[in-house]
């Protein structure tokens, strides 16, 4: 009787995932839990990290073995991915490059490009702060990645989540999980990564530089901006045109003044739905058997290198510009050129404000910050074109 009970219990247990839990699953569940903790306790990109962390946890809770006898135990979440259920289509939205342009539509509808239009000299910082992309690319190649993989890894340094996903899906789709996780995690950790680099490369006097108030940008300029940029990008950068075109459409909806409802939907409800789908799709790629390997560790390290070099090159570019400018700029705004709107601009403002409480750099930093989005798009576009993925 007891023997029979034991056999029944064993058979029952074999139908669950409990017996298939590996150390890799446990590590990834801890990684997911850390993401959720960072989002809730530290407020680091909660809109992204809660969804990614949660689906990472669920993707690593093993289910019963696959239909094949002796097959691999996969989680209920991944079953759904495999069987063509909800998460399958969530992932397809990313894989077929539908989600990233829709995110850009929402970002455009939320963004005021006024600071960038008001001070065109500062757009150069949007290119200067992208040295990190190429340092990471070269190091990745040295580590043995293919050039396409190295390009996808390098774009982490562009500090732009949708662009990183877009370029990765074109160059190295198998690296989507680690690259998107590295990109979003480092963007969330910017307030910790950037300030030491910024302080190391600037003097106290430089950090205290105040800047003149920017001119007011007229409504006509704000309406013309998305149209002009959309034409330029579609003419010269077709590989990244889907993203920038949608960014500009969202911005036109915001600025034209007659489509308030659409702008509100793009920046609100639609954006929230897309973020939900995106986070679940990314989290579901983080199963231990695919995610937990040396390549992931290397990618995460290279991502950090890209962010550090990007920050440094932005500050140095600003210092070089000061050699030629009559009205000096605060070099702290250089690091905002890395993109990651608006986190990097906020970091520039906070560091400057700590040195001089009367110095409010946020509006000035938003110019290079927004230019950084275009800098990443241009770098990504050139990468895709030269690597034959355009």
């Amino acid at each position: 009787m007891i023997e029979q009970f034991g056999l029944f219990f064993q058979a029952l247990l074999a139908q669950t995932g409990a017996v298939h839990l590996s150390w890799g699953n446990v590590v990834m569940i801890l990684v997911g839990a850390t993401m959720v903790w960072l989002a809730i306790a530290k407020h680091y990109e909660p809109l992204l990290l809660v969804g990614i962390g949660f689906s990472c946890i669920v993707a690593n809770v093993p289910g019963p073995p696959d239909d094949v006898p002796g097959g691999q135990a996969i989680s209920a979440l991944l079953y759904v991915v495999k069987e063509g259920g909800l998460f399958h289509y969530a992932y397809e939205g990313v894989a077929k490059l539908i989600i990233p342009p829709l995110i850009f539509l929402g970002v455009g509808a939320m963004t005021d490009f006024g600071p960038m239009i008001a001070n065109p000299r500062l757009v150069i910082l949007g290119a200067g702060a992208h040295l990190g992309i190429f340092v990471a690319l070269i190091l990745a190649k040295l580590c043995g990645f293919t050039l396409a993989e190295a390009g996808a890894i390098g774009i982490i340094g562009g500090a732009d989540g949708p662009m990183a996903i877009f370029v990765t899906m074109k160059l190295a789709p198998h690296l989507l999980g680690p690259i998107s996780v590295a990109a979003y995690s480092y963007m969330a950790l910017m307030p910790l990564i950037q300030p030491p680099v910024m302080r190391l490369l600037t003097t106290k006097a430089e950090r205290q530089i105040t800047m003149k108030q920017l001119r007011t940008v007229s409504k006509a300029e704000k309406i013309a901006f998305p149209i002009v940029i959309a034409v330029i990008v579609n003419l010269f950068f077709p590989p990244v045109a889907p993203l920038i075109t949608m960014l500009m459409l969202g911005n036109l909806l915001k600025e034209c003044g007659v489509t308030e409802r659409l702008a509100k939907t793009a920046a609100g409800g639609l954006m929230n739905v897309i973020v939900l789908v995106l986070t679940v799709a990314i989290g579901s790629t983080m199963a231990a058997d695919k995610f937990l390997n040396w390549n992931t560790l290397l990618i995460v390290l290279l991502g950090l290198v890209a962010f550090v070099f990007g920050t440094a090159s932005g500050v140095i570019t600003a210092k070089v510009m000061n050699l030629f400018l009559k009205d000096k700029i605060n070099p702290l705004i250089g690091s905002a050129g890395i993109a990651s709107v608006p986190i990097a601009a906020r970091v520039s403002h906070i560091v400057a404000n700590q040195e001089n409480p009367k110095n409010f750099l946020i509006y000035h930093a938003m110019g290079p910050n927004l230019a950084g989005v275009f800098g990443t798009a241009i770098s990504g576009g050139i990468l895709l074109a030269l690597l034959g993925a355009g």
Binding site: V123, A148, L387
Partner: protein, 120 residues
Amino acid sequence: MQPIIPDTLEGALILSLIDFVGSFFIIAAIGVVLAGFPLIGRIAARFEKRAPAAPAAPAATEDAPQDDGELVAVLAAAAHATLGRPVRIVRIEPTNVGDAWAAEGRLAHHGSHQPGRGRG
């Protein structure tokens, strides 16, 4: 499309150089385009000046809903002019609401502590 750059370390260096320098030039070109944007503002301003004045907005009718703050200000000013002393509007409601007994009770209650007159 075939890749233009060979998959070697040298290729990575060439790709990085072309991309970094190219990005600088292209973003500088965007900066030049943006430098011309004040012209758009000036042209738009000139058009706005030439355009005929927009028809005046219809005057608010008596039926149109009014801002509560404005209504309170008007009522307070009218009461001040009539009574000759400052008053505070506590509540506004149509005269046909409630019954007479309740109104009498409220009047007595309000009268007992004279709202609107501060003690200090």
